[in-house]
Structure formats: structure tokens, C-alpha cells
Point group: C2
Chain length 135, copies 2
DNA sequence: TCAATAATAATAATAATTACTATATTTAGA
DNA sequence: TCTAAATATAGTAATTATTATTATTATTGA
């Protein structure tokens, strides 16, 4: 109900997320936007991130390392999470379009969406390893 | 390196997880085990849950509602999370066995595992809805 | 039985996020 | 353009989930 009012801070937050693929945490967004708005508060960042996520303009990603991350790319895609450095990146692979129906076959509830997250070691962690990893 | 020593508390925690499919949070585990060990501490529950997860005897599940959940079922399977009541349940569907390779095709890192989580509304939330949902 | 070691309970500390409130910004209308 | 209503903000306090600390207790191998 409550009408949304423009704010430069929100625009800056959204703009940052549209132009990065780093899947930043709220704190990383805060540090970035702080460069333009030196006295923006962390609460403002959180409130706007949640607002934008609720409106579907960005996506909130739950990760195993505590802080949630945010993604300005809203078209369906999947993520990789590095167990070593905690970085998160997009994967270049086709969406599993039938999977919601497959999952719904032996399930009585209603399935609207899904997330897929892959885990392992990112390229740069592979290369920075001191020990050679035997296969 | 450090040798593991038996503890009745840890056994009780593991036993609970082996016999429930409720995907409890640390706090729910605490409340349950408290019935048998009235002065067990929450820290003990957390420490043992992490220990068991590290040993691969249970699984830690990241959820969008803050608290992590724990699962005594360690064979590959997928989860459903109800956006309305926050309950989590197992889905009866075949594991996507090829998906790690598919994801790895255009990816330079190393992919070890994946999780799939479905979102929507569970049966009991569907039924308890006051409004009829038009399709 | 005993000594070494790991586990515990109780508590304090930390990290991520949300809530509160007085002030500032936005915006629709006169 | 000016004004008033409504929303947004900064700054701060509070909450929640989790980890760290430490003195005491339980386990275990000799």
C-alpha cells in the first residue's frame, strides 16, 4: 500500500548491483555506496536491499558463510560458492526448466521456484594451492 | 588429529537427528535434548552439530530464514522450504547425477557437490489459507 | 585406580540483521 | 514556486544466531 518514494541512496545501491557480478554482501554494498554517500548508514543499505529484493529487482542469496549476498541479475541462473575463499560466481548453464514439475510430482504442496548452488574450489584457489592435489 | 572422545550428549544429538525428518535448527535440537539432559548447554549443541557435520554424519542446511538447520539423512536428496511457515521437508525425487559435470563444462574451477532447494507453499499452509487462491 | 585428554556447562563475545526515532528529502497539489 | 503530508535517512540501540573462553567434569587407555 505504502507509496514508494525515490531516494538517491536506493538508486545508487541498485545501480551498483546492476553493474557488478561480485554478489556482494550488505556490508560490501555499504562500503561501495559510502564512496558516493559518505554518511549513508548500514541500516539504509539493509532496508533498501530488502525493499529491492521484495520488489523482485534484485535477488537475495543465502550462503553458508553467514552473510547473505545480493545479485542484480534477476533472470534464472545458478551459483557457485567456493568453499575455500567464500567467493560466489554465476555459472554459465541452462536453467533446469522442468525441475519444478519433477519435484512436484510426489509432493502435495505448491512449488514456485528453486535455487541450485554448486560447491567446490574456484580457479584462483586451485592455482594458489601450495600442495599439488593428487587425483 | 585430536582424538574424538565419546559423549552421551553427542550421541543423543545424533540419535535425535537420525530419527526425525523435521530438519531442526540448533535451538530445536537443544530443546529436545534438554529433555534428557536438563542442563546441557546450547554451546554444546552447536559444537557437536558442527563436529558431526564436519565428520559427514549429519548435514548442515543453509536456509533463508536465519537459523541453519540440520539433517540426519546424509544420502543425496533435495529440500523444500515453505515461504509461509518456514518449514523444511525432504523431496522424493531422483538426484541430478550429471549436474555437477554439466555445471563444470563452462567453468574453470572444481565442482564437488551441489544443493537444490525448492520454494513455495507447503500442504498445510495451502489448506490453512483463508482466501481461495485463483489460478 | 590414575593421569592425560577431551567434553561439558556457563558465560561472554562477535557478527549479521532489524528496530527505533528525530531529522531530512521527496512529491503532489495549491 | 511554496507547502504540507508522507516516506527516507542517519545514527543508534536492540535482537538473533553463532562462536569463543574457561573452570570443572567425564572418558579412556595404561
Amino acid at each position: 500500500m505504502t507509496a514508494l518514494k525515490y531516494s538517491r541512496q536506493r538508486e545508487s545501491i541498485k545501480n551498483f548491483l546492476m553493474h557488478t557480478s561480485s554478489h556482494p554482501t550488505a556490508d560490501m554494498v555499504y562500503l561501495h555506496v559510502k564512496e558516493t554517500f559518505p554518511n549513508i548508514s548500514l541500516g539504509t543499505v539493509y532496508r533498501n536491499l530488502n525493499l529491492l529484493a521484495d520488489m523482485g529487482e534484485i535477488i537475495k542469496i543465502t550462503t553458508p558463510d553467514g552473510a547473505d549476498r545480493f545479485d542484480g541479475r534477476t533472470t534464472p541462473h545458478y551459483h557457485f560458492f567456493c568453499n575455500e575463499c567464500g567467493c560466489m560466481m554465476d555459472l554459465d548453464m541452462a536453467p533446469l526448466s522442468q525441475i519444478n514439475e519433477v519435484a512436484g510430482q510426489n509432493f502435495e504442496g505448491e512449488i514456485d521456484s528453486h535455487t541450485v548452488t554448486f560447491y567446490g574450489k574456484c580457479v584462483s584457489c586451485l592455482h594458489h594451492d601450495t600442495k599439488a592435489t593428487a587425483v
